[in-house]
Symmetry: C2
């Protein structure tokens, strides 16, 4: 009734490790050869992918080496350690992350798995669409997904392309980190320059594997303000009584902002995760 649309929420906040990332991480780990498994996996992430890969590796009985900036919140480092991963701290720059990862790969023989710019990860995320179509028992007119590095929306739009080609995929992005919007507009990858948004899962730039998929298959990217994100997040907490992180709320924010588009339509709304930094909930501070 907020939007005049039938909304079906895909609650990835209830996933293992609290976010959709486990889909891609698990698929990547399960794709390894026995030889590769012996040497473990490596990634650089301070966010949900770090936890997801650590858990996937643990469940598969293999090692995980996670490169994290030394500025990462203690609680995130602890969570990754809790899944039994080995943490390697680096400087908080992309260059340091990449160098450190390369070194680990060289020394340990681990397989590098990028948090989103990796076909195994993208393919894993596709599983979300199949589940969603089964759960709604029918077709969807729209699916709205957050866009950060583009791994999730790439997986979604590939699956939609094959399983439900009439469904329109819309990306939801913060105005304050609108590099995907700009990339789609200009036809080339635009880097995410100094993004400042509460939706801290959506800070990254698109990759050379995710951008072409998005460019071909995503219908449109709609951006929302920080205020719109915060208000949508509060609605989800208050009315639905579930915990989602700010990056999840951008999808509902888009639907509320552009409600005419969704009126009388059946819309799938991806709530991507629920890992919240308790000190940074905007309507509580």
């Amino acid at each position: 009734s907020i939007s005049g649309s039938d909304l079906f929420f895909k609650c990835e906040n209830f996933q293992k490790a609290g976010a959709f990332k486990i889909r891609g991480a698990a698929n990547a780990v399960l794709s390894l050869s026995n030889e590769e498994k012996k040497h473990g996996v490596c990634t650089h992430s301070s966010g949900n992918f770090a936890q997801a890969l650590a858990l996937s590796a643990k469940l598969c009985g293999i090692k995980a080496f996670i490169v994290m900036p030394k500025t990462a919140p203690e609680v995130k480092i602890k969570a990754v350690k809790g899944y039994g991963a080995e943490i390697i701290l680096c400087e908080p720059t992309l260059a340091s992350r990449e160098e450190t990862s390369e070194e680990i790969v060289k020394i340990k023989g681990a397989t590098f798995i990028h948090p989103y710019n990796d076909y195994r990860v993208i393919a894993g995320h596709s599983s979300l669409v199949m589940e969603m179509l089964q759960q709604v028992k029918g077709t969807l007119d729209f699916i709205v997904s957050p866009v950060g590095g583009g791994g999730l929306i790439s997986g979604i739009s590939l699956a939609v392309h094959y399983l439900s080609p009439k469904t329109i995929v819309i990306g939801a992005e913060p105005e304050a980190a609108n590099d995907a919007f700009q990339s789609l507009k200009t036809g080339i990858i635009q880097p995410s320059l100094n993004p400042k948004t509460i939706a801290d899962g959506l800070l990254t730039s698109l990759g050379d594997k995710t951008f072409p998929i998005i460019n071909e298959l995503v219908n449109e990217i709609i951006t929302v303000s920080e205020k719109e994100i915060t208000e949508a997040m509060k609605i989800i907490w208050e009315r639905m009584k579930i915990i989602v992180e700010p990056s999840s709320a951008v999808t509902l924010a888009v639907i509320i902002k552009t409600k005419e588009k969704f009126r009388n339509m059946k819309t799938g709304v991806v709530l991507s995760g629920g890992n919240v930094d308790w000190g940074r909930v905007p309507f509580l501070t």
Copy 2:
């Protein structure tokens, strides 16, 4: 794994109006004669029952008069108004609440429905047990329920008595508002004197209808500290990614505190509601 027990959570935070109270309120409204319906219903409550009765009345097309202390938070008054009820403000004392309610009943001819000390309300709450037994597909060794005025646990223990007599019902209460614990111990109703707990749904004393049921059918009441309540609440928010109010978290707090009792048992855990005062979440301030 927190308790070594199989826990089945009954998530009343997802109920209409955000709490279990809609069960009793709806049953009470549906029990009215056509003549009574013409004149509406009245209660005094600043909490979840006010919203539940207002919504039940609205769905039934009848009037609701809700007596609320003038010190009630603006957000709660607004929520009740949002359901179309007429609000009558009174002084923040039990005497003023009761006097004001009596006056409304006299002037308007409305039927008074007590928030918990009412057999129609108690009977409505019983429906929770039938649902829960269907959902767990089998029996439960324990059901743990919060105790405030005793309406919920009375309904639960009556239903258990008839539908699943081997299930043991345990009450969960804050140490700082342990009047039900004291009442069960002494065999007479002990008033709730100056209770100070974050579990603000559990401040009230037992009633002359709820106490005898509890005294006969509730196996035991276990109390928990404010710290234990807060920690349990944080676990529910953080791990289960759902919003519950502090009064709900006392049940999990009891299970964590006395985990030996529940080891290898199947336990139903009632999460009674999810209406949170955002300014008063203990681990966020």
